[in-house]
Structure formats: C-alpha cells, structure tokens
Symmetry: C2
Subunit: 338 residues, 2 copies
Amino acid sequence: MIPGDGIGQEVVAQGLKVLGAVLPQDVKLETREFDFGARRYHATGETLTDADVEALKQHDAILLGAIGDPTVPSGVLERGFLLKLRFLFDHYVNLRPSRLLPGVSTPLAGQPEIDFIVVREGTEGPYTGNGGSIRTGTPHEVATEVSVNTAYGVERVVRDAFARAQARPRKKLTLVHKNNVLAYAGHLWTNIFNAVAKEFPDVTTDYLHVDAATIFLVTDPARFDVIVTDNLFGDIITDLAAAVSGGIGVAASGNINPSGEFPSMFEPVHGSAPDIAGQGKADPSATILSVALLLRHLGHEAEAARIESAVSADLASRGDSVRTTDEIGDAIAAQVAG
Amino acid sequence: MIPGDGIGQEVVAQGLKVLGAVLPQDVKLETREFDFGARRYHATGETLTDADVEALKQHDAILLGAIGDPTVPSGVLERGFLLKLRFLFDHYVNLRPSRLLPGVSTPLAGQPEIDFIVVREGTEGPYTGNGGSIRTGTPHEVATEVSVNTAYGVERVVRDAFARAQARPRKKLTLVHKNNVLAYAGHLWTNIFNAVAKEFPDVTTDYLHVDAATIFLVTDPARFDVIVTDNLFGDIITDLAAAVSGGIGVAASGNINPSGEFPSMFEPVHGSAPDIAGQGKADPSATILSVALLLRHLGHEAEAARIESAVSADLASRGDSVRTTDEIGDAIAAQVAG
Ligand SMILES: CC(C)[C@H](C(=O)O)[C@@H](O)C(=O)O
Ligand SMILES: CC(C)[C@H](C(=O)O)[C@@H](O)C(=O)O
C-alpha cells in the first residue's frame, strides 16, 4: 500500500477495506504500508531508494493512492517516484478502462454508450527523460525532449492490446498516434501494428491521429473498443476518456508488468487533490475499482467482478446524496461481503 | 488561394465568394490560385518547389482549403507542403479561436458558454522533423522524435499570447504543457511564461498540464479565455476545442507571421474529407470564418466583424434545413454585402 499524498491516504484506506471484505477466507492478505510521497521527501530528501525498490519487489502487487503535492517542485515526485517505479518495474502495459456506468453523469449530452479500454505504453516515448538544455536560463536556451521508441517496446504492448481486443465481444482495436507528423516513431508503431494484426485476423483494426481521436471521444465514444497508443498520447486521451465517462472520481488504472517479473501497481487516475484532502470528500470509487483490476491481475476474477458490480450498484443508487469517503467505502465493502 | 484536396476546392470557392462580396469598392482584390496537393503530387512528384515559395511570397495572405488525400502516403503532403510552409514562412502564431455560437449544437450537455482562443506555437516542438531511426524495419529498431524548444521561439509566441489576452475583456492566460514529465521543455516554457507575465501585470495567469486541460475543455470550457501552448499539445487540444464548440465544420485558424515578413496563411481546422468531397455537402463556414481572420490580420476589422456576424446569424437560423455548400456560401455572401 502506498497511500501517498493528499486524498491518497483516504482512498487507499477504503480500497483496503473493500479488499479485506471481498477476499475468501482461504486467501491470506498480507499488507505493508510505505510512506512515499511529500512527507518522506520533506523529512529525508528521498523519493525512492534502492532499499525501497527491493522491499517493494517482495510483494505480489502494489496499491497506490496518489503522489504529488504543491510543496514539492513540479516533477520531483512524479519523476523521482511514480515514473521511476513504472520504469524500474517495467510496467509496459498501462491499462485504463473507461465505462460509463448507469446513473453516473457525463458532461456529454444524451448519455452515450461508453465501454472501452486504453492500453497505454508505459515505459517509452517522451517519458524516458531523454533530452536536455543548453544555455539554460539565457535568451539563447535550447531545450529538447526525446521520444524513444523501440521495436521491442512497441511490439510487446501492441501484442498485449490485440490479445485484450480479441477477448472482448466487439474485437476491435484502434491505433492512436500522429504518424503524419511524428514520422519515425509513427512508422515504427504503424508497421508493427500492421504486422501483429496478421496474427489476429479476427480483430478489426483502424487508425486515428491523436487529434482526431479527441474529437471522437466526445462526439462518438461508442466507436471505441480497445485503443493502443504511446505513453504521452495515452496520458492525454485517458484523462479525456475519464472525464467523459463519469470523471476521474471513478477512473481506475493498472501499471502492469505482464511477465510477472515485477509487481504490478494499481492506482486511481486522479491526483492527490490537496484542496479537498483530509475532509472526507474524496470519492474512493476509482481506488476501489483499481483494487478490482489488481485482483483480476492476480487471478481473482470472481472477486474483481463482485467489486465492479458493487461499485456500479452504489453509483447507480447515489442520486444527489452526499456521503463521506468512509461511508462510500463502508457501503461497497458491505455489498461485496454480502 | 490554395484549394488543395477533397472538399478544399468547394469551401475555398465559398470563401472567395464572401471575400469578394464583403470588400469595399476601393479595395482591389487580386487572387491567384495554386494547385498544390494530391493532384500536383501525382502529376509531377512535387509538393512545394522553391519557385512556388517565391511566387507565394508575392502575396499579402494565403487562403488554404485542405491538403491530404488517401492516395498519397500519410505525411508526404502534410510535411512536404503544409508544415514546410508553416516553417518557411515562420508562422509561429497558430491562432485558433473557439466560440460556441448561438444555435450551434455541441456534444456537451447544457450548452455551456465557450469563447476562448488558443495560441499554438507553430514552428518548434515535436514538429521540427528532428529524429530518426536505426535498424529500421528490424526487431531491433529504435526510432526517436526530438522536440526542439528555444527561448527565442517560446518567448515570441508567449508574448503574442499575453498581448492577445490583454486585449480581451477577461484578460486571462493559461499555459498548457506537461512540465512535470517533459522537464527540460517544461522549464523553458514555464520560466519564460512567468518572466513575460511580469510585463503584463493586468493579465491573470494559470497553468494546466495538458491532460488536465482536456478534462476542463469538456467539464468547464468557460474557464478558458486565452491558452498558449506548444505545437503538439496545441494540435491536440484545438481539435478537441473545435469538437466541443460546434465541430470542425465551423473551426477557423490562422498561421500567422506577426512580423509581416512572410504572408500569413488562413485555413479551416478540418481536413480534406475525401469521403464527402465533390458532393456539395461540406460546410464552408470554417473557411469563411478563416477569411474573417485573414481580413482582421490585414487590418480590415470592420469587414472581418461583418463576416463573423453573418456566419453567426446563418448558423443560428439553420435549424434542421439541409443546404449545399454553395447555398450556404451564397446566403452568407448576400448578408455581408447587404
Ligand atoms: C503524474 C503524471 C506523471 C502521470 C503521467 O503523466 O503519467 C499522470 O498524469 C498519469 O496519467 O498517471
Ligand atoms: C495535417 C496536420 C499536419 C496538421 C497538424 O498536425 O498541425 C493538422 O492536424 C492541423 O492541426 O493543422
């Protein structure tokens, strides 16, 4: 458990509560809490030490709340902890489902059908930290960012996305990139996508530029089944996808290492929301749905499905009632246990 | 006039019609039509020659329809013509207004107020074509894309955006970037933004990560007045902005060289839409609104405003009636002339 900063503390507590309630008697749950985030950083200057990494490796999975605080310069915790862990634990499948559940409101008119997943590459692209600057701080500064894309890295995530598409009823996979401008990376992604497609003849495929994809996400989200995309485009379109399918209060995600060599990490898409932290106002649904993804990843499909039904029922029955973080957690825990 | 491909032909014809109608008697309009795009490429293999560039330079402004066709490999015309011209003519201000006009439908519920402009940088970032690949086509391929950002390039566009924000009633400017991940470019943008802000004390400023910006564009678009952002983020969020504010059928844009050293170029945000080309189905409004931006750029403010009112009135009175491209152009031309 890495509650982290801000509302991370509150929502992870609810995730743990539901996890405890849903597991059958014969499954033993052992947890350890880590104090990463702003407090640790202010106290020790550390974000993630080698010893921390070794300790985390001993676990089957990680549940993360949120990392980030206004008292820490932008990027320090994000890169020093969150992205570092995604890279060290080779979380190359960043899985982000979007589903507009009954009773949940969307900013889109006409309550459209939304049920797709985004498979975002998690270990390459513009997130590698490659780049630099010269004449920094002068009128002649030049700053670069390098997007690094490898056949190895692209093929494995594309293959994963095809397998996920094949397992869904609609069997449709959309590649999102910007291959008319980012020609080198674009060709690599497009060629590999087309090559892997031959191995999945029953999966329908198409391609959208990332700018066009944002249009369809608001005008025709029902057109999407599975999307595979690069790290940065995935970051952008999954926030938009969360917004249209009920908001980041209900958006779950998994940072998955499919080989199982390293523990996978599950987290809500939302941030630490310091403005509402400690007030019991945060919606723990996204974290609880992330627990479902965690259980599914570890093979507990029935328990994952039970959590998802319970969250769905809870959201559908909410109406205008205002409940605390804790009350929502209690209600869902009671349902999954029942 | 560069009608270009697909519906570009039809919509530019309407733009020219309205331009002819709105200009006062004492303004002499001289036009020349260029045949860039897929036909020229197929006939000669050329996208834009040195002689073309010299010929274009002789003009005060360029009106572009759309460039791109499925018969030409993705990227060839985009990079060989459109982006080449933006770079050669130093179109560093890519201006994209978003306004939800009365009577125009939006995919968002509740018909929110939308009236903001995006100042997208047009000559740097990931659009420079820097990058490459090694072991191309093998399982060991590595492909890179380099985002190049200079203090010179960022400062001039940020300054332009501050001036535009200062000239608007709300005087609010939002920087959109991803400075927690793209740290080198992010620092450059953030530092210059904060430095220039000191020269515009009456402009309110804030900052949003690009992923968060996409959320606000659908949940609270009224929060935006002026946005300044990098080339790629600008590409993505302006398509989304167009979608929420009435669709790309009405989204205009200007590729502006503020110094006047080179002609600026005005174009609808939409593409060549080959699926509906030649059928009189395209909405010329975006092109006609681009003509208004062109006139404003050349100092014909009254005529620009007249076109904008006419398009607005035309959209408001449309209802469910289906008119051809030509009919819409005729109606607007009649109004601006009146
Ligand atoms: C906090 C940030 C580094 C992170 C990202 O950009 O990946 C977040 O936006 C996300 O989507 O998980
Ligand atoms: C066609 C393409 C190169 C272009 C861009 O990416 O700038 C277009 O999407 C735009 O926004 O004008």
